[in-house]
Amino acid sequence: MLTVNHFILLSAILFCLGAVGVLIRRNPLVMFMSIELMLNAANLAFVAFSRYLNNLDGQIFVFLILTVAAAEVAVGLAIIVAMFRARENVDVDEVNELKG
């Protein structure tokens, strides 16, 4: 019997994988992809709750979040490209002029 818990556990696993991905990758593009994975995990949770609560709101949220993610990706990639243009390098560990 498929229950809501199956889906939430999957979403939890994906969420944590995404979080770890952000932490261990040095390429901002992959870090950002990991963040997208975390958002997707949240989406899965929303849809699962929506289904088992018989409450369509969750699906609407996912639709809205898709849009937000799109906007975020556009902005994020623009910043990453601008940074690449300025320093010909996309290793976030090299970006640490500001500290202390």
């Binding site: 809501v4 939430i8 979403s11 969420f15 995404g18 979080a19 952000v22 901002p28 870090m31 950002f32 963040i35 975390m38 958002l39 995990a41 949240a42 949770a45 929303f46 699962a48 709750f49 609560l53 409450n55 709101d57 969750g58 949220f61 809205l64 979040i65 937000v68 906007a71 975020e72 902005v75 994020g76 623009a78 910043i79 990453i80 601008a82 940074m83 300025a86 320093r87 976030v92 970006v95 640490n96 002029e97 500001l98 500290k99 202390g100």
Partner: protein, 480 residues
């Protein structure tokens, strides 16, 4: 099939709407404005903010809710709206000469700033977690770009990319928290969450959701240990952007923070108040102590803004009507004070060459006595020195904590503000008690900067000496 009619009530979102429309008008205006007239776009933006502020005033006491319970126009939200509009207007006054001097005077600067303001107003007046999330994103995205606005400067870009990556990271946590709260209560509407929790006890899933929400808010208002981005981003971003986000983001995010936790989650107060109290202690202490050794004014003010978030969090822990109004007052006081401080820092810069090291301020009092005086007043106010705005704010917050049995938190707050005096006075010592550094001659303070500074300093003094009207306004902040 029935005809569905959405619950449209434009009046209650009028302030945000006016700001958005202004942003679009400025965006279109950018196309037809020649390079040497870009400042008019700034004036236009300020005009839009003033109109939005009037709209907010006209809604005072309306206490109306709209868009199927998504937003509300209560005095709490309106007070924050006014604070945000004020901070934006003052920031733009500072920005007009600043972005010209730094050759980044594009109309999009104002568009992004106004869009961010719209997001802040949405966030401060939202009564649904999903709208709060959207407000958060709408305020954040423009700020990511504004932080990186000086594209040619690697520091600005670094600020942008750090802010963006960490901001998106924290947004994911926040969103996951919303999802869990949705699962645990079946709704994202704050009132319905409160109603649901009034009937049944919370579940572990809800606790985790609440924890993640707290992480999201903590990131935005820069609470330890979610504050790491703050010093770096404040340092690297254009100074006017730093000034703007140091105050306005706090106002918006704290608004939603209070609304969510105090209004929707009082049933779980036993749990989150303890966490918040610990975060407040960590935040105040770390912010103040880390600021002690900073040699750069922007970084120092960044750590100071962290510390101030800690003070405001005390008001949330107090979880009372007085706590709420004290937080509002504090946010207003902090807004004018911090903008005054940043305004003075900008006023002391030499065209595109900024003076950001504390030692650069040496002897400023001799060359620019009034700017030095203004900076001194603002720093003293930040330190909670009487009789300025910051003192009254701290008094109100600590008083609210004491009233509700959190005296020990107030004690730590007092201790912290004593420590803070030390670093706030360092620039003052430099300005008044050092021989002037070279290169002061011939620097003139831009009239708009002087105007912003004047407004800020008068407010700082007025809020300190005659705080009663502002306290009365803040006290009307009914949460819905």
């Amino acid at each position: 099939m029935p005809i569905l009619v959405p619950d449209i009530n434009l009046r209650i979102i009028a302030p945000a709407l006016i700001v958005t429309v202004t942003a679009i008008v400025v965006l279109l205006g950018e196309l037809v404005t020649p390079a040497e007239r870009k400042r008019w776009l700034g004036y236009l933006s300020i005009a839009g903010l003033v109109v939005a502020a009037f709209a907010a005033f006209s809604l005072w006491g309306a206490n109306a809710s709209g868009f199927s319970g998504m937003v509300v126009a209560d005095n709490f939200g309106l007070f924050l709206t006014l604070t945000i509009a004020l901070s934006a207007a003052l920031s733009i006054l500072l920005s007009i000469p600043f972005i010209h001097a730094h050759e980044i005077d594009q109309g999009e600067y104002y568009v992004l700033l106004l869009a961010s303001v719209a997001g802040m107003i949405v966030m401060a007046t939202a009564t649904d977690l999903i709208v709060i999330f959207l407000g958060l994103e709408l305020l954040s995205l423009p700020l990511y770009i504004l932080a990186a606005f000086q594209r040619e400067d690697t520091r600005s870009l670094e600020a942008g990319i750090k802010y963006f990556l960490l901001g998106a990271f924290s947004s994911a946590f926040f969103l996951y928290g919303i999802a869990l709260v949705f699962g645990a209560t079946g709704t994202t509407n704050l009132a319905k969450i409160a109603a649901s929790l009034a009937q049944s006890a919370g579940s572990p899933m809800l606790s985790i959701g609440v924890g993640l929400l707290m992480v999201g808010f903590a990131f935005k208002v820069a609470l330890v240990p979610f504050h790491w981005w703050t010093p770096d981003v404040y340092d690297g971003a254009p100074t006017t952007v730093t000034a703007f986000m140091s105050v306005a983001v706090k106002a918006a995010a704290f608004g939603a923070f209070f609304r969510t936790f105090q209004f929707a989650l009082p049933a779980l107060a036993l749990d989150w108040r303890a966490v918040a109290a610990v975060l407040a202690v960590l935040t105040m202490t770390l912010g103040n102590v880390a600021a002690l050794l900073q040699s750069n004014v922007k970084r120092m003010l960044a750590y100071s803004s962290i510390a101030h978030a800690g003070y405001i969090l005390i008001a949330l822990v107090a979880m009372s009507a007085n706590g709420l109004s004290s937080a509002l007052f504090y946010l207003l006081a902090y807004t004018v004070t911090n903008l005054g401080a940043f305004g003075a820092v900008i006023a002391l810069s030499d065209g595109a060459r900024e003076r950001l090291e504390i030692k650069d301020f040496a002897g400023a009092a001799r060359e620019h006595p009034l700017v030095a005086l203004a900076l001194t007043i603002c720093l003293l106010s930040l330190a909670g020195f009487p009789p300025f705005a910051g003192f009254v704010g701290k008094f109100l917050i600590f008083g609210a904590a004491v009233e509700t049995g959190w005296a020990w938190l107030a004690v730590i707050g007092v201790l912290n503000s004593l420590v803070s005096v030390y670093f706030y006075l360092r620039p003052v010592v430099q300005m008044y008690m050092s021989e002037p550094a070279e290169g002061w001659s011939g620097i003139r303070v831009a009239p708009l900067v002087a105007l912003a500074l004047l407004i800020a300093v008068i407010s700082v003094i007025a809020l300190g000496v005659f705080p009663a009207p502002a306290i009365a306004l803040a006290a009307g902040g009914l949460i819905r």
